[in-house]
């Protein structure tokens, strides 16, 4: 397929890896923020290919993983109310809540439906005028314009039985939080390419200056990621710290202004809790007052819920790049994608799921490489 196959060329990937090896004078610690990139790295064995030169630390860029437990509990409670149809992206259904996940709520009779796009939730609302349709709107900056468009469509179409339970997170405040931690080991970042298609990378330039941190906006195919890593290693070896864009074919410095306008019309920046990490100031989005009629929190008068994570799950440290999934005592035994303790084992972007799918048969080798 055009724009995919070219970036999956194995010979080319090995050539770039050899270049990285030849210029590295010491091992560098790099973080890829985005869980989609984590999965590419694991799936194609990029971390193993570069094991001597680069340690890849996996970041918190998995929206399903960082959606707060309270939000899951609220979604489950809403789904169980009579007359409600809860519409969600598929990944969310198995994410453990305090008591139930949405999948089990569905098994108990709740009307939970999976949508690929928020526009499907709007269609469901039109088709069910006597029911309340709630869309669980999660995501990073990449998804915010699509979710905002759903609210915009609903307002324009005068829908009165549609609302959204919004849990949106923003990447730059999370990067600042990671870099401000006394435990930080990260020396360079692969910035999330699809987030940057929307927001551009001017804010990343501020962070790079403030923390003297090399950053490269990277794509999602193996050749993209290897090139981004090569660009980071070149900066590090030359003691440079700036923002470069590897993913030029899709990302501009200013981002998608139309998408930014739509997001700004519907949402405003707010404090946000990240599952496993805690509260980060100004790191999320909530409805502007003009869109309050679509805020499920207000319509259903949802009270805050106190929650507690399972003690054995180390996803908090995994999401901050402090520990690897294989460090967890429950990994592949008490925690699997079918019976997850934490969200990173569920999501197609979670680091634990990536290790489970691509590395669980290779644990001896992993153990030896430590």
């Amino acid at each position: 397929m055009k724009y995919l196959d070219e970036y999956r060329d194995g010979a080319l990937a090995r050539r770039i890896a050899a270049e990285i090896a030849s210029i590295s004078t010491r091992p560098w610690v790099l973080m890829e923020i985005c869980g989609g990139q984590t999965h590419t790295i694991m799936r194609y064995g990029i971390d193993e290919l570069l094991a001597r030169n680069v340690e890849l630390v996996h970041g918190p860029g998995c929206p399903v993983c960082v959606t707060p437990l309270e939000t899951i509990d609220k979604a489950v409670a809403l789904a169980l109310r009579p007359g409600v149809i809860l519409v969600s992206y598929g990944d969310m259904l198995r994410v453990p809540g305090s008591q139930l996940d949405l999948f089990r709520a569905k098994a108990q009779g709740a009307d939970v439906r999976i949508a690929y796009s928020p526009t499907e939730a709007i269609k469901i609302a039109h088709a069910n005028p006597d029911r309340q349709v709630v869309f669980l709107a999660i995501g990073f900056e990449t998804t915010a314009p699509a979710n905002a468009m759903a609210a915009w469509d609903a307002k324009r179409q005068g829908l009165t039985n549609f609302s959204m339970l919004v849990s949106h997170v923003l990447v730059p405040p999370a990067i600042r939080s990671l870099l401000s931690s006394p435990h930080n080991r990260i020396q360079g970042f692969i910035a999330p390419g699809h987030v940057c298609t929307i927001v551009g990378y001017e804010e990343y330039e501020e962070i790079s200056r403030e923390f003297r941190m090399p950053m490269v906006v990277g794509g999602f195919e193996p050749v993209d990621l290897l090139e981004a890593i090569l660009m980071l290693v070149r900066q590090l070896e030359a003691s440079k710290a700036c923002v470069e864009n590897q993913y030029v074919r899709a990302v501009s410095r200013a981002g998608n202004r139309v998408a930014q306008r739509v997001v700004n019309e519907v949402f405003e920046v707010a404090d946000q809790k990240w599952r496993g990490i805690g509260g980060i100031p100004a790191s999320g989005l909530r409805f502007r007052s003009e869109y309050a009629a679509f805020d499920a929190n207000l319509i259903f008068d949802l009270a805050p819920i106190a929650t507690e994570e399972p003690a054995e799950c180390i996803s908090a440290q995994v999401l901050q790049g402090l520990r690897k999934p294989t460090d967890c005592s429950a990994f592949t035994t008490r925690c699997t994608p079918e019976t997850p303790l934490g969200a990173p084992m569920v999501s197609a972007e979670g680091a634990c799921a990536a290790y489970y799918h691509y590395r669980r048969h290779n644990l001896v080798a992993l153990e030896e490489s430590k």
Partner: protein, 92 residues
């Protein structure tokens, strides 16, 4: 969640303030909202995320990336001919 798949715009319709169209991904074609990429025209490649095109793929830049990669020494002359099964469209 942040997966976005490149596809080719086959058709554009503007109806009651909505901009939508058909986009081809390998062997399949899907309805996609194009409101966020007003600059896209038929024949362009766009990146599609949860049913919305979020970015036009810059063909010149895509070619430039190929050129840089080619300069690095290894470009086997041919791209892999195998058409992979369509990527995970169903997952957001």
């Amino acid at each position: 969640m942040c997966l976005a798949i490149p596809g080719k715009v086959l058709e554009i319709n503007e109806l009651q303030g909505l901009r939508a169209g058909k986009v081809q991904f390998a062997a399949i074609t899907r309805a996609v909202r194009l409101d966020l990429v007003p600059e896209a025209v038929v024949g362009d490649y766009v990146l599609v995320h949860v049913g919305f095109a979020i970015s036009c793929i810059d063909e010149q830049e895509a070619r430039r990336t190929y050129e840089i990669l080619r300069e690095m020494g290894v470009w086997e002359g041919e791209l892999p001919p195998a058409e992979e099964p369509p990527p995970e469209h169903s997952a957001p």
